[in-house]
């Protein structure tokens, strides 16, 4: 299998603070789904920021889909980000645009034709169960619907890698489980998925490796049960 993410002895320190990430090395293979857990402040979000090029590592190398992020120039960051599907705890939907228009944004940025946009957006909304809500505005949606809309926006471009940072943070357990099932469905058709969440209870029955971040150090080979024990 080819790797889609490779971290090699990566460390990250913010000015005036201790290291948030310490000597992190790991590889995510193409088509793999990995669940990253750990308590708040463990460095999960920092790790995501490094992959999304929202921050640069203090040390080490990061290669994503063949691109060495350490050497990516500022002007090339937009082109790199267009390869990713990003999902955050805050859905980051634009309130004055309809669900359809929000989901269509990445395609507009890429310059797709109107017909292609319509076809892809409807497919993405169908995949997340929002096909009947495309004319609604984000404030009219529930928290779960908003997060599903943001997932539709992330997958509408058919990215090779989907990154989700605390995607269920604002959702009730039933809705959170539904969102996790969505990630599994995308992974089943070949999308690499990296999900970060401190809610280890979500993955009891999910067939994916669990990696645990603790005080900036990564511990491989955990299971949902051992990670839950470690979180106390």
């Amino acid at each position: 299998m080819t790797e889609i993410i490779r971290f090699q002895r990566v460390a990250q320190r913010y000015p005036g603070a201790d290291e948030v990430l310490r000597d992190i090395s790991f590889t995510v293979e193409q088509g793999q789904m990995v669940f990253l857990t750990g308590p708040s402040g463990a460095g999960k979000t920092t790790l995501f920021k490094l992959i999304a090029l929202l921050a640069r590592p203090s040390r080490g190398d990061i290669v994503v889909d063949g691109v060495n992020l350490v050497s990516v120039r500022h002007g090339r960051i937009p082109a790199y980000r267009r390869k990713l599907g990003l999902i955050f705890q805050n859905p980051h939907l634009l309130p004055e645009r309809t669900v359809f228009d929000n989901v269509a944004l990445p395609l507009l940025i890429r310059g797709h034709s109107g017909a292609d946009i319509g076809r892809r957006v409807r497919a993405a909304l169908d995949a997340v169960g929002l096909l009947g809500r495309e004319r609604a505005y984000p404030p009219m949606l529930s928290g779960g619907e908003q997060q599903r809309a943001s997932i539709a926006r992330a997958v509408v471009t058919r990215p090779a890698l989907l990154l989700a940072d605390e995607p269920t943070g604002n959702l009730d357990p039933a809705m959170a489980a539904e969102v996790m099932q969505l990630f599994l469905r995308f992974n089943a058709v070949g999308v690499s998925v990296l999900v970060a969440s401190h809610a280890i209870g979500l993955i009891h029955d999910l067939p994916c490796p669990v990696w645990r971040l603790d005080k900036g150090r990564l511990r491989h080979g955990a299971t949902a049960a051992t990670a839950e024990q470690a979180d106390g």
């Binding site: 937009p78 990713l84 980051h92 944004l105 890429r110 797709h112 292609d116 497919a123 995949a127 089943a188």
Partner: protein, 319 residues
Amino acid sequence: MAKVAGRPHSPTPGAPVRWLQDHVRALTETTRRLRVRPAATLLTLLVIGTTLALPASLQALLGNLGAAGRSLGQRSLQITLFIRDSVDQAAGRALAVQLARRPGVATARYVSKDQALAEFKARSQAADALALIDDNPLPASITLELDPGQPRSHAQTLEQQLAGLPEIERAHIDAAWIDRLYALANLLQRAVWLLAAALAVTVLIVVGNTIRLDIENRREETVVLKLLGAPNGYVRRPFLYMGLCYGAGGALLAWALVAAGMAVLARPVSELAGLYHSDFALQGLSLRDAGLFFACALALGWCGAFVTVSQHLRHIEPS
């Protein structure tokens, strides 16, 4: 699912179509945003429009001043040739007939010494003084009226040529007042350019400040677009179109203000021209000036937006 996650089949149209689509979308989105807040948009356009209207109206007035000068100048562009005393009346009249045949000359009128004295007595309050002099001191003359539309340079050339004739003592173009008018117009033209430069800076500041506020209002949208991988050109484009819209709207408003001003002044100016036996009529901005003015307004709007967007957008990054 496969429809969403499969490989792209027909991702983008050709580059020119894509470019056009992107720009049409940006322009549509910009005009939508301007319509959403009509009061603020109108206020900004009024500020820009009135600022642009001042140099535009002065330019129009200058154009009219030039036209008035040409109109009156063409009507009265005359060359007076003073004939030597040694030339008798018959020779003088023959010379007038000969000069009237020259190209560019409409009429040639011979005025004998006696006619000149009679006309002087009729017009001048100093006529009584001439009674004290035995001889008639006034020379005979030929007054040439040039064809309408003859340039001033032609009149000067003709004046120099005729001054060299053996019968002619002195030649004179009666157009000093036109020279003064043109000198005044030249001075005003420079003042208008200076004023226009100062007001252009004002327009840049107004557009820049308005765009800056818009950038702040759309900070969240900018962050989302950058997270989604929008290139700088894509993020910047709606703001540049907004600058262009302000420039175009301001220019249209200024043109309307100038046209309204000209309409108000047209009648009194026409009456004034009538007093000088001229059919001069006030005109608005010429097509050339209007085109230049519109292009300048668009350039100002775009530049104001570009400078502001370049300064502020780079500080808005997702974190």
